[in-house]
């Protein structure tokens, strides 16, 4: 029997989708050995309300730490608390996400515990004394199977890689106290600027409309935004070429030096398909490419391709998607 800890990432009082992914994956690990899932939820007073949602995806217990200085991500305080909880709770595996927050948090927690850590994990299982994980290396061109020795193992899941499963459990809330004084941290968040608020993030959206230089200008991205709008559950991403030119913010960059996404549907519009871009989207479930050059490498990875001018194809697709969604 092995209990698993899942970190319940939140931002501005809302659970991130990766929180539910962590709980879902932790549930699968726990069920394989007959253990429990405990979720760790840290935030400003009131965050305990979110425990129910974690229970729906399989948390037996939700450890809640509420504090005024924990509303924004407070790396030092959260790492100290997580490490202390993981140690005292005797967990076999601690499951985080390789989100921006998770990437920052994971190594700190592992260092405090003096245990092994692997990020960007696409599969994990407990095997005897080891936790065996799959982790893409060399921008996804090679898949490593690695063994983490010792207990607990700290892992960061690849965001979007875990399909959410509902598996209702009690979600018994247990209040826990911060370790030390959270307001005494050496790093303080002064300000959080959110992108256009109503918009989905590329890491969470089931559909990503990604644009490249083929969209011609910052204004040209209106075509991608319109299509995202038609889907209703889509976010707009971009290539590095486009972000470097300032057409889109770097936070939307997908690829080796940007974000790694695996949505249900990835539409690449006016993107050549450089290997560094593929590194960030090749695990998407369905890939559509629209490019006027039929030799463009993006067609090699696409499930469906249209050879054509984005200026003509995107508006037609936008209209067709609107129509299709209407008739649902």
């Amino acid at each position: 029997m092995a209990n698993i800890l899942a970190f319940a990432e939140q931002r501005s009082g809302e659970l991130r989708k990766v929180a539910l992914e962590n709980v879902t994956a932790a549930r699968a690990l726990a069920d394989a050995t007959g253990g429990e899932v405990h979720a760790l939820l840290v935030g400003a007073p009131g965050i305990a309300q979110k425990a129910e949602q974690l229970g729906k995806h399989g948390a037996d217990v939700v450890l809640v730490c509420e504090h005024d200085a924990l509303g924004d991500y407070n790396a030092e305080a959260v790492a100290a608390l997580a490490a202390e909880r993981i140690k005292s709770g005797g967990y076999r595996v601690a499951v985080f996400s390789t989100s921006a927050q998770g990437r920052d948090l994971l190594p700190r927690v592992a260092a405090k515990l003096g245990v092994g850590v692997v990020t960007d994990v696409t599969e994990a299982r407990i095997e005897g004394d080891a936790v065996i994980v799959k982790h893409p290396i060399n921008i996804g061109k090679v898949i490593a199977t690695a063994s983490i020795a010792g207990t607990p193992a700290v892992i960061g899941l690849r965001p979007g890689n875990t399909t959410l499963v509902e598996n209702p459990k009690a979600a018994k809330v247990e209040q826990v106290q911060p370790v030390g004084d959270p307001s005494a941290a050496r790093v303080k968040v002064k300000e959080m600027k959110k992108g256009a608020s109503a918009k989905l993030d590329i890491g969470e959206a089931p559909v990503v409309i990604a644009g490249g230089r083929g969209l011609k200008s910052a204004e040209g991205f209106k075509l991608a935004e319109d299509l995202a709008d038609a889907f209703g559950n889509a976010a707009v991403g971009a290539t590095r070429a486009v972000c470097d030119d300032g057409w889109r913010p770097h936070s939307e960059q997908i690829g080796q030096t940007g974000r790694v996404v695996s949505p249900d549907l990835y539409i690449a519009a006016g993107i050549s398909g450089a290997i560094q871009h593929l590194a960030g989207m090749r695990t998407s479930r369905t890939i559509v490419a629209i490019n006027k050059d039929k030799e463009a490498p993006i067609f090699k990875i696409a499930d469906y391709g249209i050879v054509g001018d984005v200026a003509e194809v995107l508006p037609a697709l936008t209209a067709a998607v609107r129509e299709a969604r209407k008739s649902h």
Partner: protein, 250 residues
């Protein structure tokens, strides 16, 4: 201001990688290597801070086989002052081991800042910087895309998913550098000449036992071949049909 920058020698990702006969490493034959790009941004950031302050020292550290000395020389030719080579047969996959060796070397060195690139594309873990920070008990800010240091304090910007975080931190600190902070300078001919005479110390890396080891490597499963649905807007109805009926994503 005393700044250490930790840099990694990485293969060019354009290559076709081959798995070695041992099944747990990649064949390095024919690969081209260079400094990890985010690490070059970290070197650039250190040089800019030193130039702005008008004084200080930039120390470049790299861990690995003798060939990493080339990577250190590159940073020296950009303008760093001296190099430290932590010698190991190969660069381990386990970031914790790397961090332990780096922390052992930099401990007590009086560094105000220790800079890293946010991640290297080969092992793709992005954990070394923050572990070093913990081991040395430094403040730590990861994945920064803006940086200001003044009066013994720093401020930085971090890109999150769909948001930006502006933080203030105290020195000494470990920072990891993301895209957007700067563009790394090219070494000048003069810089390359000067780098040849700059000190470069080599000593064994204190790696300790790895906690994470690679059991096997494999090529990713090939995607089933796709199809060209058609040309231009005329192909849109068929694409929509496929998305609805075959892929079931619409």
């Amino acid at each position: 201001m005393k700044i250490a920058v930790c840099v990694k020698r990485v293969p060019d990702m354009d290559a076709r990688f081959r798995i070695s006969a041992d099944g747990t490493s990649l064949d390095e034959g024919g690969l081209k290597f260079d400094i990890n790009e985010p690490d070059a941004w970290a070197v650039e950031a250190a040089l800019q801070l030193k130039e702005k302050a008008g004084q200080g020292e930039v120390v470049v550290l790299s861990l690995g086989p003798p060939a990493v000395q080339e990577t250190i020389r590159k940073a020296l030719s950009m303008g760093a002052d001296r190099g430290i080579h932590l010698a190991a047969d190969r660069i381990p996959f386990d970031g914790f081991s790397i961090a332990r060796a780096i922390a052992a070397e930099l401990k007590g060195g009086g560094y105000d800042l220790i800079l890293f690139g946010k991640m290297s594309p080969d092992s793709s873990n992005g954990i070394v910087g923050a572990i070093v920070a913990e081991l040395l008990d430094y403040a730590c800010v990861t994945a920064i895309s803006q940086l200001e240091i003044a009066d013994g304090k720093g401020s930085a910007k971090r890109e999150l998913e769909g948001a930006q975080e502006f933080v203030e931190f105290t020195l000494p600190a470990v920072l990891t550098v993301d895209e957007g902070l700067n563009t790394a300078r090219y070494p000048s001919l003069k810089g390359i000449m000067a780098a040849k005479r700059k000190p470069l110390d080599s000593k064994p890396a204190q790696l300790g036992e790895p906690m994470v080891t690679i059991k096997s490597l494999a090529m990713p499963p090939a995607r089933p071949p796709g199809k060209i649905v058609g040309e231009g807007a005329a192909a849109v109805p068929e694409l929509v049909r496929l998305l609805q009926n075959e892929a079931k994503v619409l």
